[in-house]
Every structure is written in structure tokens, then in C-alpha cells.
């Protein structure tokens, strides 16, 4: 067993070796290295053919038309293109946007930036389980609302928003609906013929494709217009200029093709592993699961071990590659804004660990992790004055702490 064991599949995934092989065939003189925009020779035609295949593979996973797929550098760029592109194109119809406090920073920061340009943004509070109350969403809609942007699956807690229901609401109000699907593609079934989603962001590296490539789905019927954010040679139907990175696109296409083929069986296997991990941990005293357990991808377990600070636990778990909502792991020194938006106390946010499992996770790895965690929770609680006070029956909220 190779250590540290990788339990951070929501941060990124290794490229599937089958995908890497295909990508390598698109780089050298012997391979398909041509520029798909070269219309005058075989090299260009061959590259274009591979891009077309990849575009179809991406579209097929989500039941879309290949013409609706625009390749970008990743989900961050797709989010930017969708939100700014819509805002700048439709600003005469209204300047109000609705999103949620638990969105990825690629959405939140883009919205903040639009606020500086004079747009107005409503940031919805999720319910304590991480899900959005549709009534609150509906209540936030106004006549000048042009866009709702809600992620499909949350990156920290793995909860799945009901994008079908949200799509019904937005469509009936003629509001455009953007979904960040970076964490859901390949994990949750998506059918864009049925779902009334207008724009959807994808990333390749979350599902065993390469980093540096993503896509934006832009609906054709009813047609969604965007103002391009990257200008140049008019690639991707004018929505995103720049020479197509054939090897990256081929990698993304392959990754999405395997995802479609293997998703059902893979999800069941991963669910079994995740439940094994949960069962090995849930009887530890003062342990809290963050986010809804039912409407959640099988890959994610986000758990707070009260009275143990997340970074010190991660330091103890040096044989496990996990992530934490602890402030000490972020540059900003703020604990996870996602957990705080759920109404979790700062203490529990500081004490959270996110495990995300994936294609190469094994039962043996999960069992090893359970043992490591249990031993170290005990050790760190012995060190924790808060644990001692809790055991002595002292209410920690009754103490006047000197915030620093």
C-alpha cells in the first residue's frame, strides 16, 4: 500500500492510464499534433476529427448536442465565461443575479466582480443540510433577475442540489440557469435534454482526465447568448478563442467516455467503501457529519471531530492525503465558508476533515485510515483542554473567550 493514501479525489484525480495513453498519441511528430483549425492539410483534419470525437464524448455523458460544448481551460474559466458572458450580454434586461453562499470561489468571486460593475447579487443561505430551499430561491427571484447560478454537487460536503426543480423555476420565469457541474459530472446522472439547465461547467481533472481543460455547455434551444471573454481567432463558435489543445481535449473526451461507461458500477463500489469508512468512524464520541447524507455523492465524507483541531489531525494523519475546513489549512486563516454557511459553529468547522474516495480507492486503504484516525483522535483529545472541559461537564459556550 502506497502512503500517503490518496483520499482527496475532489481536489483532483490522477489521470486514468487509458486516458494518458490516448493523450500521448497527440503530441509528437508521429502523433496527431496538428492544429484543428488548419483546414488545408491532413494534419489539421486528423486533429479536428479527434476533437470532434472528444466533443461528442463530453456531450454524450450529459445527453447534450456536441455543438453545445465549448472547450475552456477548466471549470473556473467555464464559470467565468457563463456568468460574465450572460451578465454582459443580457444586462439591458436586468442586472440581478442569484447564487448561493456555498458555491465554489470561481462563482462567488466572479459575482463579486460583477457587483463592482454595478450588478446586484443575492447570495442565498443553504439549509443546515447544505441544500437550497426552493421557496427561498423563488422568493429571491425578481423581474430584473437574469441569471441563477447554483452548483450541482458541492465540493466540500458532496451534497446534490435539485437542479431539475431549480430549472423548472428559472425557465418559467425566463431566467437563465447556470450549473457548476465540476463535482458532479461522471458521479451523478445528468440529462440536459430533460433538465432545464442553460449553461453547465465541466472539468476534466475531477474525473480522471488532465488538468487545464474543461468545457461549458451552452444551450442552443432555447438559445443562450454569451459575450466572449477571450477574443481572438473566433474558435469555439466565437465564444472562446484560442488554439484548441488537442491532447487535453482528447484526454477530457476519453475521461468522459469512461465515466459514462463505468459510472454506475463505480458509484456502487465507492459507496460501499465510503459507508465502510463512515461505519468505522461514526461511533467516535462527538462526531458530526457535515451535509445531507441522503442527497450526497457516494464519494464524499465530511466529518467534524469536535475538540480536535483539523490541521493538527491532518498532521497526525500524515499517511492520509485528506483536506480540512480548518483555517490553518487556508491562506485566509478563516475556517471553511461552506461549513459556516450551513450554520456550523467555527469550532466544528475548524475540526472538519474531508475524505473523498475515487476510482483507485481500496478496502484495505479505508481500513488503514479508520485505524489511523481512531488512534489519533484519542491522542489529540488527551492534548485538548476543550475535551477535558467537555468531559468535566463545562459548557464551552458559557466561557468568555478572548478572541484573537
Amino acid at each position: 500500500m502506497k502512503t500517503p493514501i490518496y483520499f482527496d479525489y475532489s481536489a483532483t484525480t490522477p489521470v486514468d492510464p487509458r486516458v494518458a495513453k490516448k493523450m500521448c498519441d497527440c503530441l509528437t511528430l508521429e502523433g496527431t499534433f496538428g492544429n484543428p483549425a488548419s483546414r488545408s492539410h491532413q494534419y489539421g483534419w486528423d486533429a479536428e476529427k479527434l476533437v470532434d470525437e472528444a466533443r461528442k464524448n463530453v456531450a454524450d455523458l450529459v445527453n447534450a448536442d456536441p455543438k453545445e460544448i465549448v472547450f475552456t481551460s477548466g471549470a473556473t474559466e467555464s464559470d467565468n465565461l457563463a456568468i460574465k458572458g450572460v451578465a454582459h450580454f443580457y444586462h439591458k434586461q436586468g442586472k440581478h443575479i442569484i447564487t448561493c453562499k456555498t458555491e465554489h470561489k470561481a462563482v462567488l468571486d466572479t459575482c463579486r466582480n460583477l457587483e463592482r460593475e454595478g450588478f446586484e447579487v443575492t447570495y442565498l443561505d443553504p439549509e443546515p443540510n447544505g441544500l437550497i430551499d426552493l421557496k427561498k430561491l423563488e422568493a429571491a427571484m425578481r423581474d430584473d433577475t437574469i441569471l441563477v447560478s447554483i452548483m450541482h454537487v458541492n465540493n466540500e460536503i458532496g451534497v446534490i442540489q435539485d437542479i431539475d426543480a431549480i430549472g423548472e423555476l428559472t425557465r418559467s420565469r425566463k431566467i437563465l440557469f447556470h450549473v457548476d457541474a465540476a463535482q458532479s459530472a461522471g458521479k451523478v446522472a445528468i440529462d440536459l435534454e430533460k433538465s432545464k439547465v442553460d449553461l453547465m461547467s465541466f472539468s476534466a481533472h475531477k474525473i480522471y482526465g488532465p488538468k487545464g481543460i474543461g468545457a461549458l455547455y451552452v444551450r442552443r434551444k432555447p438559445r443562450v447568448r454569451l459575450e466572449a471573454q477571450m477574443h481572438g481567432g473566433g474558435h469555439e463558435r466565437g465564444m472562446r478563442s484560442g488554439t484548441l489543445a488537442v491532447h487535453q481535449i482528447v484526454g477530457m473526451g476519453e475521461a468522459f467516455r469512461y465515466a459514462k461507461e463505468e459510472m454506475a458500477t463505480e458509484n456502487e463500489r465507492i459507496r460501499m467503501l465510503r459507508d465502510r469508512l463512515l461505519n468505522g468512524l461514526k461511533d467516535i464520541e462527538e462526531t458530526y457529519i457535515n451535509g445531507d447524507m441522503q442527497r450526497r455523492i457516494p464519494h464524499n465524507l465530511n466529518i467534524s471531530f469536535n475538540f480536535v483541531e483539523g490541521e493538527s489531525l491532518m498532521m497526525a494523519l500524515k499517511d492520509l492525503a485528506v483536506s480540512s475546513g480548518s483555517a490553518c489549512t487556508s491562506a485566509s486563516l478563516e475556517p471553511s465558508y461552506v461549513l459556516r454557511a450551513l450554520g456550523r459553529s467555527d469550532e466544528l468547522a475548524h475540526s472538519s476533515i474531508r475524505f473523498t474516495l475515487g476510482r483507485f480507492s481500496t478496502e484495505q486503504e479505508v481500513d488503514f485510515a479508520i485505524k489511523q484516525i481512531r488512534n489519533n483522535i484519542d491522542k489529540l483529545r488527551e492534548l485538548s483542554p476543550l475535551w477535558e472541559m467537555f468531559k468535566d461537564g463545562i459548557d464551552l459556550n458559557s466561557i468568555e473567550w478572548a478572541a484573537h
Binding site: 486563516l333 483542554p385 475535551w387 478572541a403 484573537h404
Partner: protein
């Protein structure tokens, strides 16, 4: 973030973990930080009649650097007079543990903890003589 070997050593083998009776007149307790901020440090010192710190214990909720800062502090204060101990500077702790800038607050907390423990001990003495 990579930790210095000294931080890892204190974290893996923390010195002087434990509790003392905080009602004991020879014991001074300093608890600083806040759970909401992600660190709480409790330092206890046992002072003899000559005003020398005979023993020190700590418990810390916080990151590895906070645990290491308090562990190191217990080593340093033992055998020192109250006056000497109160002169320990956070910069000395940070330098010894090679803390990166983002972790300096951990050493500040340790300095606050020894000052608070000394104040607590002294306030008990005043009550006793009063």
C-alpha cells in the same frame, strides 16, 4: 505547508502534557485563545515559595505549531523565576521552532499563556495575603 523538524518533534512527542489542580495556591493557570479561532492554549505552572517555577503542564487545542509552541514553552519555563519567565518573547519561540510567518500567532499565544499563568498565580497570592 512543510513543518520544521522541531515542530514535528514537539507535536509527536509533546512534553509535559497534563493538568494541575487550579485551586492549588501554588498553581497558576493561563488559558488563552478561543475555540472559534481554532486555538486554545492552557498553561499551568507550579511555583515554589522561592518564586521559582518547579513544574509546568499544558493542553492545547490547535494546529501543530500551536501544540509545539506550548510544549516548548513548558520546557523553557521550568526552573525559571517568575520574572525570568515573564520575559520570554514570542519571537524567541518562533525562532526556535522556525515558524513560518503565517504561524507566528501560535507563538504569540504561547507568550500570552505564560503571562496569563503568572498573573493568575500572583492574583492568588494577593488573595492569600489579603
Amino acid at each position: 505547508m512543510a513543518y520544521s523538524n522541531k515542530v514535528i518533534d514537539h507535536y509527536e512527542n509533546p512534553r509535559n502534557v497534563g493538568s494541575m489542580d487550579k485551586e492549588d495556591l501554588h498553581v497558576g493557570t493561563g488559558m488563552v485563545g478561543a475555540p472559534a479561532c481554532g486555538d486554545v492554549m492552557r498553561l499551568q505552572i507550579k511555583v515554589n515559595d522561592a518564586g521559582v517555577i518547579e513544574d509546568a503542564k499544558f493542553k492545547t487545542y490547535g494546529c501543530g505549531s500551536a501544540i509545539a509552541s506550548s510544549s516548548l514553552l513548558t520546557e523553557w519555563v521550568k526552573g525559571k523565576t517568575l520574572d525570568e519567565a515573564s520575559k520570554i518573547k514570542n519571537s524567541e519561540i518562533a525562532a526556535e521552532l522556525e515558524l513560518p510567518p503565517v504561524k507566528i500567532h501560535c507563538s504569540v499565544l504561547a507568550e500570552d499563556a505564560i503571562k496569563a499563568a503568572i498573573d493568575d498565580f500572583k492574583s492568588k497570592g494577593q488573595k492569600k495575603s489579603a
